[in-house]
């Protein structure tokens, strides 16, 4: 493990990879600040660039840097103009924006940066211990357990979709799995569901689908409803005093400690992710705060700002645990990263740590470096970076659409792919109008081939589906998957009935 760690350290500290981290963080911050553009859209747009680098470690380091930068950028727009660029930074605006209105924008940004740094750092440290332990357990798994584990992951994503959303999330997952069966799979060597369209022989492109699910709907929604852009293009808030007092530092320290730990553990669970971590972090801190401090929440409390910021950054790091150790993405963002890794011929999973330790460890170490970069580079640069908020939407929207189209074109070098992109993007926008969650669709699409592959292998090995009851671990995992789907659906049905009768 120490040898691998040192190899990772050597890889992460190379000039090329340091530039990747710095570049990724800056690009992510710039774009993440734009209201309406989340990390998933940004990473989807950046994938063709990352793949063209060719080096998997450098590509993943760049994308991870973009991810952190985007989350940090989202906090900045939440604090400065009350327009969260990302769902996970909505809770940041509860107290961040009131602080800006009180003329304390600089202070709010400093607290957000410190809390993010601490959350990310604690997360990275926990990742160093958690990931190898989980990977060593996962090495004992057979294809049947992998199949069951993936079913648990997909079920958890649906289960955490929220009240009234479980069946929709489940349906979207199955749609994603079905889309993954289109084309000529490696396993059977025969075309499936191609409808005699030659361009579908190789299946639907992962980059095309990722852009269609996130970048196109986000942008079309900005066109449909211009008020979603927040006050982008309006006069920039003055950011002068970045200092925090001793008393404020004393107040936020325990909050950051608690929420970094809680956020990380929530991030590790598939489907929970940074958004739930930030809201839960905010709610927990408000509930345990003394009476007079509780009144401050929502009006510019430093604790209320530090809690979601440390929780969402720790959760971002935590979400890498199932990705790197099991090869199972816990969120839409990590699903996109998984797709990028597969495109680079890297298979994340328990063997990654043994077979390609330089990738495994360099990514973990670069997370820590990314947090340092965000703290020391972005904070002094924030007044300048915030100028991106003044870019008029008349230029912003055509450019986002153009980069999306270019991403799909470069990825496949095929103009027909652009038509698929537009068609799928319009379908995704309509689904968003009907509140169908789109992340489960993409996760299903990415996990689809692996799920089918493990299912087929287990079935061939046992000459049928007897592996379900012959392997106790598989049976237990599948039982958990069923419970994950049935219990929340029943609970929300019961709650609704009580509401009707009461």
């Amino acid at each position: 493990m120490i040898e691998g760690f040192l190899l990772g350290l050597y890889t992460a500290l190379s000039v090329k990879n340091m530039l990747m981290v710095i570049g990724g963080c800056i690009i992510g911050t710039f774009i993440g600040m734009l209201p309406g553009l989340g990390p998933m859209s940004i990473i989807a747009i950046m994938i063709p660039v990352a793949i063209s680098i060719g080096d998997p470690a450098a590509a993943l380091i760049l994308l991870a840097g973009v991810y952190y930068g985007a989350v940090f950028g989202g906090s900045t727009s939440s604090i400065l103009i009350n327009a969260p660029g990302v769902a996970s930074t909505v809770a940041t605006s509860f107290d961040g924006y009131p602080l800006t209105r009180q003329g304390k924008a600089g202070k709010a940004l400093t607290i957000a940066a410190i809390a993010s740094f601490a959350g990310g750092t604690v997360g990275a440290l926990l990742l160093v211990f958690f990931a190898p332990a989980l990977a060593s357990v996962a090495l004992l798994f057979h294809s049947s357990e992998y199949f069951a584990l993936m079913v648990v992951g997909l079920s958890a994503i649906a289960a955490f979709a929220g009240s009234g959303q479980v069946t929709k999330a489940l349906l979207m997952t199955v749609v994603g799995l079905a889309l993954a069966t289109v084309g000529e799979g490696a396993q059977f060597n025969m075309p499936r569901f191609t409808m005699a369209i030659m361009d579908l022989q190789s299946g639907i492109g992962f980059i095309t689908l990722a852009m269609a699910m996130f970048a196109i709907p986000e942008t079309l929604l900005l066109v449909l409803d211009p008020s979603r852009s927040g006050k982008a293009g309006s006069k920039q808030t003055d950011i002068t005093n970045l200092r925090i007092t001793k008393d404020e530092a004393k107040k936020i320290t325990p909050v950051i400690g608690r929420q970094s730990l809680q956020g990380f553990l929530i991030g590790v669970m598939p489907g929970a992710g940074a958004t739930i971590a930030s809201f839960l972090g905010y709610a927990v801190e408000r509930n345990i705060a003394p009476e007079e401090e509780r009144k401050e929440f929502g009006k510019g409390s430093v604790k209320g700002l530090a809690a979601p910021e440390s929780a969402n950054n720790a959760a971002c790091t935590g979400s890498f645990v199932p990705l790197l150790t099991l090869g199972i993405p816990g969120s839409g963002t990590t699903a996109i990263l998984l797709g990028a890794l597969i495109a680079l011929n890297v298979s994340p999973g328990p063997r990654l740590m043994q077979d390609q330790p330089e990738i495994f460890w360099s990514v973990i170490i670069s997370m820590y470096i990314g947090n340092v970069v965000l703290l020391i580079l972005n904070l002094p640069l924030i007044p300048y970076i915030a100028k991106v908020l003044t870019v008029p939407r008349t230029f912003l929207i055509p450019f986002i659409l153009f980069f999306t189209l270019m991403g799909a074109y470069i990825g496949q070098n095929n103009a027909t792919e652009l038509l698929f992109l537009v068609g799928l993007g319009v379908a995704a926008t309509i689904l968003r109008f009907a509140s169908f969650p789109l992340a489960p669709l993409l996760i299903g699409f990415i996990l689809g081939p692996m799920l089918e592959d493990n299912f087929s292998r287990a079935t061939q090995l046992y000459d049928g589906v007897s592996f379900i009851w012959e392997r106790p671990m598989t049976a237990i995992l599948l039982g958990i998957a069923v419970l994950l789907i049935v219990l929340p659906a029943m609970r929300s049905r019961k709650a609704s009935k009580e509401l009707d009768s009461g």
Partner: protein
């Protein structure tokens, strides 16, 4: 009926077609040697079609018995307030861009897409628009073609210049 239930009905129909293909069309093409295999190419799609139809019906009959969740402040009932014309025109613009990228060449197609889209969204500083679109078109073509090494036809096909 709410939009989500209409969509669930549509998805159910898609899964019925998907299932019909998996159950009745795919297996006929299978070579005899593969028919002795416990897993066929249609096995996984068959399972998915059953779960898909079941899931779509659950949404259709609103089995969770909850009101529609409003995510991201999108309120479908307010559709009249949305700039639908602008969105449809931009979608058409993307389709035209995809269809003309090869024939018009990257530079002209990109320049027209960027400048016309910005003008549609209300940009009236035309000299700035032309400069920004022109610089972006050339800059990105140079970056993709020369730096990333991905060839893209820069000029219209009829000029025969590469």
């Amino acid at each position: 009926m709410a939009l989500d239930r209409w969509l669930a009905l549509f998805i159910a129909l898609i899964f019925l077609i998907y299932g019909y293909t998996a159950f009745f069309q795919m297996d006929g093409l299978l070579p005899p040697i593969l028919q002795r295999n416990p897993v066929w190419p249609s096995t996984f799609p068959k399972i998915l079609s059953v779960i898909g139809v079941f899931g779509a019906l659950c949404v259709l009959i609103n089995i969770e018995k909850t009101d529609r969740q409003i995510i991201d402040d999108i309120i479908v009932e307010n559709w009249r307030l949305y700039k639908i014309f602008n969105a449809l025109t931009l979608i058409s613009g993307m389709v035209i861009y995809a269809l003309t990228l090869r024939s018009l060449g990257f530079l002209a197609a990109t320049f027209l897409f960027l400048s016309l889209s910005a003008a549609l969204l209300g940009e009236r500083r035309f000299p700035l628009l032309i400069v920004v679109s022109g610089m972006a078109s050339y800059g990105i073509w140079y970056l993709v073609d020369s730096v990333l090494g991905i060839y893209m036809t820069p000029f219209p096909a009829f000029l025969n210049i590469s």
